[in-house]
Symmetry: D2
Subunit: 396 residues, 4 copies
């Protein structure tokens, strides 16, 4: 493994040097007070990053998938009705998890590339006079399609319908990279992992739960132990943990939060938008469309690019890995073979991104697509030059 | 955090230099073939360490607690009867998890410090003519009391009773440090974590499942997704993973297995016995008894030492941390305040251990116990001198 | 410091992950046998890389400049005559060092951008009937101008003249990256550092000395202690060192040699030629000439690119650092402001190089040069596509 | 290499975790402004640690031996007279270096184990009416014998004699661990390395020069280039370096200075005295004397312990390495075989030290010396308990 080229997958991201070092920690006694000095600042950092004043933050040694399960099993009971939209592989998987836990799903299927249809949600919620629906799921950023959905609109749908369902948001590929407003949007459960906006290795499921969600845990009967927030909360109150914590990763999380907050969240989000816009300019220069159906849906963390009909987009990803040692993302599920994905979240500069664009260009040319070498690079260069980074500030 | 002194907690252990480096890995694409080159050798290494030829090995980004949950939820259904002995905090917690998952527990309570009573198991199993009991739990090494139980005897109890129940063994603080014979003992699920015998940071739940256990998963109805071995197995077959794996830790696990197997398992176990015997010699020199009721129960990974009546053993642990910067383990549950624990598993030399013994000695003297300085050290020195390590070979 | 972008300076290079880890070593006792297990393999590795069978290899905790001083002070006496060509800043500095040590310099000045004129050397040597010239200096690769000189031709000049002078070669920016034939070229002292072809941090001066050079040390009277090879040789004979060695760096050197030899020297050199050719293709696409006067002089480790008259080439370097966080090399001495330099030695891929080319392109456009964005990138892409790397093999 | 046990050699020391990480730095452009942000704070930190307000600090990629050479070659000319005392291997080697550089030595030989005789210095200086003596050498802490000399007394000798000679002090094994008062003692050159009190890997020579010493450089004619402070000073003025600096180590030095100054120098020195006193208590309990002739000479960084006549003290060191994997220091030169040395400088706790004492004890018993196991440990424990460390403060 040569580790020379950056990765351009939509997470795990390239890990900044100081986060590598923060995670690479010798063993401490996790029952000593040192642990609390890592745990609580890390939780506070996450809370600030999701823009909440009173969300309870939980950190599990797991992944975002475990975070989904934590939200479901702590707040719901078998047979509960849950509303969810399916617009990509990750929303699909969360729905699948619900079904496997015996939840009664109301699924809104939309084309992969579309956002979550808040209006349909509103209609369904309005019609649900008896409030059978206990939770509404929303994938903030569909990593499979590069589609960002409007969570504020979903909150409005709930409010307009006067519906008390909990709002669970998958922020795995948005939190820490794109604006996330837990309190303002009335989110009840926000789920993410360590390996995306926090730029760490995978290994932590990170959740914010509203007080309303926490209240719901009292009646929730889905079985849980590893993911039980009651044990977590009891541990946290003593600066402790219900089992052995992943201390190094949590130290990394604390450091990552400090990095992001020091840079300033607005700067972090602007940095992501800037890098992403360059990628989209490149795609445009190549004459290729995006999977995301319209500009308001464009994700700033991952771009899924459509290749011409009859061409297997996965070949680009395979060829990039085999020939140039560069990792992109394949299309998944409904868009398998139709798109390839460029991840551009976390620790990334315009200069690094240009090497990814240049690589994609070479791959497409190698595979016979009608792509002029340097064209996407030039489009991105033009954008990056016109919108220079603040190199003094952009820490990550 | 000064990180100067070794830790003497019963896991996480001191992490060897090369495992620190193996875990501290830049991001790779976990959907590339590189990942399979880490995953499969790590699984094979674990299989060899638990001495199995056909166990399926599963590695989750979780902890031993998640491993327990994996075994239960994949093989059992709500209402199933489970037999378990409670002889310490960790067996207690596993039982608690069972109850929270709606299992019907048959609990054999014995004094903390005793081993699992195979004879009582046999009586109960023999009496269970209808085979209502679906699984038998056994904690191989009770980390809370420093008690090693005889798993072979439990297998004999099952066989004598002609009982088909699955045998689930918690090997968290034994596997990789003490002999564990998956096939010979007819174990159906062996559970451990990364932070004990494998000498890594916490963050992996590691399981071996027998083919019989895997067959049981088809009928098991406890809800599960994150811990579902079916998704894992489907991923493994393609060198992949059902969600984002903790690649660095898995690379560390692969490296750790190589270290242990290169050293030779018999040498690894003898090394643990050697270090442990020195600790026990020190306790004897201090005139203090062990929590473990008899020598056949003595654990080679952790020693729980009883302090005189009226003395709060936890003070030793607090004082060691505050005054000498050294971490020992407190007594938990029934033995809280009655014992303190010295962990001696994983990467540890006689020389390191002597500093732990010397520290315990200072603490006890500081706190007014009638301990002659140097006495425990001398007893351990005597043993270590008479049984020298193979410094060329002892790699960890 | 964000450490995100690769550096494109002509050394120190980007450090491969495994060399970072090899250098980051805990303290060992450098008087123990462990040290010899690092020292001797490292020396043997260097010997093989410079293609010698009997050169004595010396490794000092210093830099290439210290290596120059080692060659001079161990083999020469004050007042000795030394022949040297000056064709760039680094040959200039070595000459300056000679003068400061009281050597009598015969200097051949040529334009910066030219190679060493072997024919002039031959004339001078032939005319030196009394063999007053004790040493001939040659800078194999002038890092300041990106000019590679023909050492074999200089050896022929010496041989044709029948002159016994020692041949001292500065291989700082060539050894480990470009072909260096110590024995075949009759080199008497080869000098390099750790931070170029060996891809390590700066901190080691590395020399190969012929037996003839070592014989010369007996009569050499220039004062020396730190750089005295007699103390070194006496230490080496016992697996030891005359003072405290930089053990971690030496462990890194040993590892680096293994990497290079495992990859195969011909592959290493071809890899450098490949990356360099892409850079030269970019310069050509930009319509810019090289400082190196003719293709036979083109260096495979660094390219000095001439900018139009009236333009301050240093602005590119400053702008790249300030605006894009990318490091290139400025012109030095005679070519200050006239060239900027792109380093392309050591651990570098085509993909990384494209980001450097793209950055240079943006800088030049930003600064008003008539450069079409994407043009240099496209030229390099074309070359790299037509000459793909062996990604399985190219380890560094 | 297992790296488990601490080392107990008198440098290089055990490296603190955060210094490991500070040194393990990716490549930066050493010609960029980033370098100055490391260089100047590191120099300022060293200046504060040697307690000077206007010493010029120089940092070379070399070792303490290179530091000695820097002091000599920059301030002296061939044939200059130099006064020096020889009371151990390191003072011996500095004298040898002087002789090899053509200096005219006036040597005061005293028994190894004695301090520098300030009175003899005074007599010689007083007698030197013509001020032929240009420099006086003093080894502050003789690492070979564990003897600390009184530099203030030597300054008084110079002053009493009214002698203008420069005062050069070898502070290699004292600076950063024991009190060093550059200004108060009128030191003209203080020499140390990175691997002792600064707790870093070897690879930096660190010097403080008085303005008087710098003035002397104008007339000094010993040849020098690599170690020429004029090139260094010219570079420093621009935040640069005359050749490629060892950036990572310098970053480590900067971090180390911050650690020491944050802890507080008085605390650092007291910490060393505390650890050393425990070692001396152990030696006393063993019935063994020290090489240092009297308590006022006892070094707080290394203790040389005399073994009984007829016993080869080096066997202890060999046996400790072979049997217990622990590194002590052998006796050198005149005291070879007569003493073994325990290094106790830099990053070390009482708990770590006890393991070293316990190991020495085992070795001596193994080799047939009449040592009661636990006796030295108990004596050190007694001292450490009575003089507890400030675990909150003692950072290193």
């Amino acid at each position: 493994m040569s580790f020379q080229n950056p990765v351009f997958i939509p997470g795990p991201t390239n890990i900044p040097e100081n986060l590598r070092k923060a995670c690479d920690m010798p063993t401490i006694d996790h029952r000593s007070s040192l642990f609390g000095q890592i745990l609580h600042p890390a939780r506070e950092g996450v809370r600030r990053i999701i823009k909440s004043t009173d969300a309870e933050i939980f950190i599990f040694p797991a992944t975002g998938t475990g975070g989904w399960e934590t939200a479901l099993t702590n707040c719901l009971s078998a047979g509960d009705t849950v509303l969810a939209a399916r617009n990509g592989m990750f929303s699909h998987r969360w729905i699948d998890m619900c079904e496997r836990h015996g939840l009664d799903m109301r699924i809104v299927d939309v084309p992969w590339g579309a956002g979550i249809p808040a209006d349909q949600y509103q209609d369904i919620l309005t019609a649900d006079k008896d409030h059978a629906i206990k939770a509404v799921l929303a994938t903030h950023n569909e990593t499979a399609t590069g589609v960002k959905s409007d969570i504020a609109a979903i909150r409005r749908a709930l409010d307009t319908a006067g519906h008390p369902a909990l709002l669970f948001v998958d922020g795995v590929s948005s939190i820490g990279s794109m604006d996330f407003r837990f309190d303002e949007w009335g989110v009840d459960a926000a789920v993410t992992g360590s390996q995306k906006g926090f730029m760490l290795p995978a290994g932590l499921a990170i959740l914010g739960l509203s007080q309303k969600a926490i209240a719901a845990t009292h009646d929730a009967t889905l079985p849980r132990t590893f993911f039980d927030i009651r044990d977590m909360a009891a541990g946290y109150a003593k600066g402790a943990y219900p089992y052995t914590p992943a201390v190094g990763l949590m130290n990394g999380l604390n450091t990552a939060c400090n990095m992001l907050l020091t840079e300033g969240l607005d700067n972090v989000f602007a940095r992501h938008t800037r890098i992403a816009t360059g990628v989209r300019a490149a795609a445009d220069a190549w004459g290729l469309g995006l999977c995301a159906a319209s500009p308001d849906l464009y994700s700033d963390t991952v771009t899924a690019i459509c290749t011409p009909a009859g061409f297997n987009a996965t070949d680009i990803v395979t060829h990039a890995a085999d020939t140039y040692g560069v990792a992109f993302g394949v299309g998944l599920g409904d868009v398998a073979g139709k798109v390839f994905r460029i991840g551009h979240l976390g620790s990334l500069t315009d200069v690094m991104m240009l090497s990814g664009i240049a690589t994609a260009e070479m791959c497409m040319a190698d595979l016979g697509l009608d792509i002029r070498l340097g064209s996407g690079v030039a489009a991105a260069q033009e954008y990056y030059r016109a919108h220079p980074a603040n190199t003094q500030r952009d820490a990550a």
